[in-house]
Point group: C2
Chain length 334, copies 2
Amino acid sequence: MPTISDVARAAGVSMSTVSYVLSGRRPISAETQARVKAAIAELGYHPHAGARALASSRTSVLALVVPLRVDVSVPVIMQFVTAVVTAARTYNHDVLLLTKDEGTAGLERVAGATMVDALIVMDVERDDVRIPALGRLKQPSVLIGLPDDAAGIACVDLDFAATAAECLRHLAGHGHRRIALVGPSPAVYERGTTYASRFLTGFTDAAAELGLDTVAHPCGPGAAGVRECLAEIDAELPEVSALVVHNEEALVPLLEELRASGRRVPEDLSIVAVCPRDVAVGLPVRLTSADIPAHDVGTLAVETAMNLLDGRRTPGTRLLAPTIVERDSCSSRD
Amino acid sequence: MPTISDVARAAGVSMSTVSYVLSGRRPISAETQARVKAAIAELGYHPHAGARALASSRTSVLALVVPLRVDVSVPVIMQFVTAVVTAARTYNHDVLLLTKDEGTAGLERVAGATMVDALIVMDVERDDVRIPALGRLKQPSVLIGLPDDAAGIACVDLDFAATAAECLRHLAGHGHRRIALVGPSPAVYERGTTYASRFLTGFTDAAAELGLDTVAHPCGPGAAGVRECLAEIDAELPEVSALVVHNEEALVPLLEELRASGRRVPEDLSIVAVCPRDVAVGLPVRLTSADIPAHDVGTLAVETAMNLLDGRRTPGTRLLAPTIVERDSCSSRD
DNA sequence: AGCGGTCGTCGAAGCGCTTCGACGATGGGG
DNA sequence: CCCCATCGTCGAAGCGCTTCGACGACCGCT
């Protein structure tokens, strides 16, 4: 492995000159640059990450904390992950993958050891113990999600309250007045994952504002969860004409259950789903959906982290506006 | 951030003593150890990863290369990833996440910069360009998968040929003689992902050996792919009584399509699927399946990497034996 | 002609850790 | 009783890089 001084010797310059060519932090003449770059290419030189980190106290690595045990759909998580990794690479950063189950210790380990420049944390809860821990680190962090007390922390997420309102507005625009929310699994609410409650609040508020008759129910896993949820909805809101489904896992069994019980979508029941586009179009009925912009959120999280690293002040919380895409699961009533 | 010399001063010993307490590479008296550990705890000392890497040329980081664009099911990939991350932590290592689309450059970057101690590479293809590149690195690597020429490289995977044979044996044991393989998407074959061809070869060989009538077809994405695949199977092998499905993505639309066309599982058609357990039990019909042991494979990959790092010789290729779990999708004929 | 200011480059001082050789202090064997 | 191991600890030399201060050379002014 050649070192920077091998390169310097080969190019007939000093180590510092090589370093400045690489970092661009001081002006170097075109000819010198060319000679240095040639030497680098010829020797196949790669700067040693550890040495660089030691001397500069920057690592070019981002930590990404992902949930391991999940009630939220795996493909969605993976979309966030790939968005973050891809975006990080555009800033010449790599991504160190931590799992949520390491809790606070994992954060402290990688931050304390100066393994990363910044942290991006997914799946934050209402009153997440990791938040105070993050505050104590010397590295900046960005949350994907929105805890109760987001003071002083950068947060990025979809605006779930607005999304719920938009779903209702869309259905109301098609003449629906009796609408039910099929929510995430009860476990998600209990854990205090705030996107669930933000969506629910948005749903309830918009329903009141629009003068709609609504009920909301969490929906447990599997066909059994779906059946139970539907039964409760039917009992509490007879002649419901539309469903807002904020639960990806429930989508397949839900459509199956409706089909089995002879209710056609959208003729008998309209559906607006909250899910990534590819899920919406991959089902037997192409669902009208509010997109979960995992890619945008992940990218924005990385950008925010980079701004923080550059000492730029950033808005504390960034909530992305919802987008509804009309497909085949929504009919009009009048 | 306290450094090792702060700790040394606080404990009244030299830096090297602190270092030896931490690494255990030289004997240190119990009293001294206690004093040092107390100082470490009190100061909240964390060794600086970069400095450590520079001095010792070991990073305690593993690179994991995952496929980004996938025809293989995302949850399965995620299972490998979590297995690798979890196993790595038991060896006090962290995981740097690379995506396959960076190709050879990504490997060379992290290896050249000494960011990682070893590499674990998923989704290797028949004649993967990354294999020669891996050979050139100074770090060892472990493949999850099996290329054509696995000489000199550590590989870990499920024994797909044996798995196929086992599936056929299971069905033959239930009296089935006319059996079709629903394979991965054509794209998977074209890309040269060898698990597909290994499975196919195992299927064909075992069919001959058992004297079965079989056909094999790849199965494109979505409901359309399934329909086409089934049509071809029915045309080429009338009165087929069982399906071996080696394609997770096809499972949902396949069951849907069978239901829609009035074929009951398992009364009219038996199915053995190749997929992780949770997928097999999460469908309308609980499928008899050959397990994809993502967790075991991931763990074994990490163990292999650690052995390699310790200079231990390891068997070049480790293929895990299949396990078939009987559920509700297989009926007997006689 | 003399002065200040860029520009391009160099030298050297660390960054925080590991590890090698050395060295007193014990202890056991001949 | 002496010698040689062994044990526990220390000092110092790097590991490969960044960065700060310095310093000629050269420019355009006055």
